[in-house]
């Protein structure tokens, strides 16, 4: 199987209005997809349609619009469950995004299971959003945050990971793909190792759902979290998948309307799953937009997208390596989505500024993963991240632009 043909790619790009614009008089080359992807027309249209014709509050109205919108909202829950191969729709909780999903678990799962001295095991490549909640949870329980360190290629040492599991952390929380390095963690193996020690596992899928097929049952992860906006969907909506056995036991983390069953002035009984975790009016338009994004991914063929991106990424990576003084940060055997680099004698922000003037949008800085920067002893990196709509021609322009920036700076 190959990536997209030229005509397929052209057709795909035509679905994204934002790609067809000029920046400083140059065609936009958008390589900041790990931060957020652009949105296809069908996602934009779905949100517009909701606010134009369908707007109303869900789950409580007896009137027509409310019932239609409730049905559409719940259809997306089933669609998400199918997309990640969850056993049941009730295992899908809508949140504001990956960060909120992780905070929900840290708060609720923390209340359920954490006692003084308990620890959480993460890796040295976590995004701050899969680090700080656990660090704080551990601190609050006088426990230790256990960290599986990275080697010089940016891979987790499995031997050390195994040893840390023997310290019996209450939870393992690891990213599927590093947003700063592109490392794809061997999560199936890591989950199995944790389960062999009776430790549940949370997978941060923010950087993986848009690039590969996810099957939470096959992975056997206990929690899987991701954001809509990094998978062609809208901002402000995300997913927390959790195994029913955990979600049933976990206490609610926010209180209010929607999540309750019976309320008197002094007592409340809570609604069942998934509603007990969705207090207040949800982001209905966002959820419907997320549903459209899943339609887009399925229509376009996720497997083909992954393959296409891999071709572009490897092509750009090889070309970049020919630039004198370049140092690729993160050289894991399994990589997806991003290339991070620095160039000797230059600062990432200088390169980013010059690339911007050439119409190339990349991210510079620490990518919300400061410990990763410390590990590689760099102030930050330049990060190019790829999506379904990027082309080999764009990779060429990107690498030429980097070379031009380096020539100016050195």
């Amino acid at each position: 199987m190959n990536g997209f043909t030229a005509s397929e790619l052209n057709e795909l790009r035509n679905q994204f209005p934002a790609l067809h614009q000029s920046i400083y008089g140059k065609p936009l080359i958008y390589l900041d997809n790990a931060a957020t992807t652009q949105k296809p027309q069908l996602v934009i249209d779905r949100i517009t349609k909701y606010y134009t014709f369908e707007n109303c509050n869900i789950h409580r109205g007896v009137h027509y619009l409310s019932q239609e919108a409730t049905a559409a909202y719940e259809d997306v829950r089933a669609k998400v469950a199918g997309f990640i191969h969850a056993a049941k729709s009730e295992e899908v909780i809508f949140t504001r995004g990956t960060t909120e999903s992780i905070n929900l678990i840290a708060s609720s799962f923390g209340k359920l299971l954490f006692e003084t001295g308990d620890s959480v095991l993460i890796t040295g490549m976590e995004h701050h959003s899969n680090l700080v909640p656990w660090q704080q949870l551990c601190k609050n329980h006088n426990g230790e945050l256990l960290v599986a360190e990275l080697d010089e290629r940016g891979e987790v040492s499995m031997e050390q990971y195994g040893k840390l599991l023997e310290q019996k952390p209450k939870l393992v929380a690891i990213t599927h793909i590093s947003n700063a390095l592109g490392t794809v963690n061997p999560i199936k193996e890591m989950i199995a190792m944790a389960h062999a020690n009776d430790i549940p596992v949370l997978i941060d899928g923010a950087q993986s759902v848009a690039h590969m097929r996810i099957d939470v049952q096959e992975l056997d992860c206990d929690f899987f979290v991701f954001s809509g906006h990094k998978m062609y969907g809208p901002m402000g909506v995300g997913v927390l998948y959790g195994k029913q056995k955990w979600l049933e036991q976990m206490p609610p983390w926010q209180f209010g309307g929607e999540m309750v069953d019976q309320v008197s002035l002094h007592e409340t009984t809570f609604n069942q799953l998934p509603f007990k975790f969705e207090a207040g009016t949800p982001n209905v338009a966002g959820v419907l937009g997320l549903g459209a994004a899943i339609d887009f991914l399925q229509q376009t063929d996720l497997e083909k997208i992954g393959l296409h991106e891999m071709i572009i990424l490897n092509y750009a990576l090889e070309k970049l390596k020919s630039i004198p003084g370049i140092r690729i940060i993160g050289n894991a055997a399994e990589r997806a989505g991003v290339i991070s680099f620095v160039v000797e004698g230059t600062h990432p922000s200088d390169i980013g500024t010059l690339l911007d003037k050439m119409g190339v949008a990349v991210r510079t800085g620490h990518h919300c993963a400061q410990p990763v920067m410390t590990h590689f002893n760099v102030p930050g990196t330049v990060r190019a991240s790829f999506a379904a709509y990027n082309s080999l021609a764009e990779a060429d322009i990107f690498v030429e632009a980097v070379q031009k920036a380096v020539n100016m700076l050195c």
């Binding site: 400083y24 230059t346 600062h347 990432p348 922000s349 200088d350 980013g352 500024t353 010059l354 003037k357 510079t364 800085g365 102030p379 930050g380 100016m408 700076l409």
Partner: protein
Amino acid sequence: MTIQEIQEQIVSEFSVFDDWLDKYNYLIEMGKEVPRIDERFKTNNHLISGCQSRVWLHAENRESKIYFTADSDAVITKGIVNLLIRVFSGQSPEAILDADTNFIEQIGLKEHLSPTRSNGLVSMVKQMKLYAQVYKLKQDN
């Protein structure tokens, strides 16, 4: 020269460039010539927050005028700091406090003015004005 005159001079220097490349090359050259901060002042106390690259800024008061020195680990940022130093260094606290920075827009570096911009130009101007405020208060007392 007054702040206004220096700003006009800079605007006129930049007016000869008709494309961004020359403009940034000039900025990079200026970055290499920034009045360097004494190494002993390159401490966290002199770091300007809000910049993706690190920027250190130091101010000294001599005969009622403020003199700035700076450094950064990013050369374009240094070029921008150098522009600001050219404009503000050697001026009185009052003149610095009263000055606007319209010249940044006029030389086509408007995109660096956004408060969220990672090079923190806004933070640099704010820090320079803060120094001016402090020296003015000291003088008034």
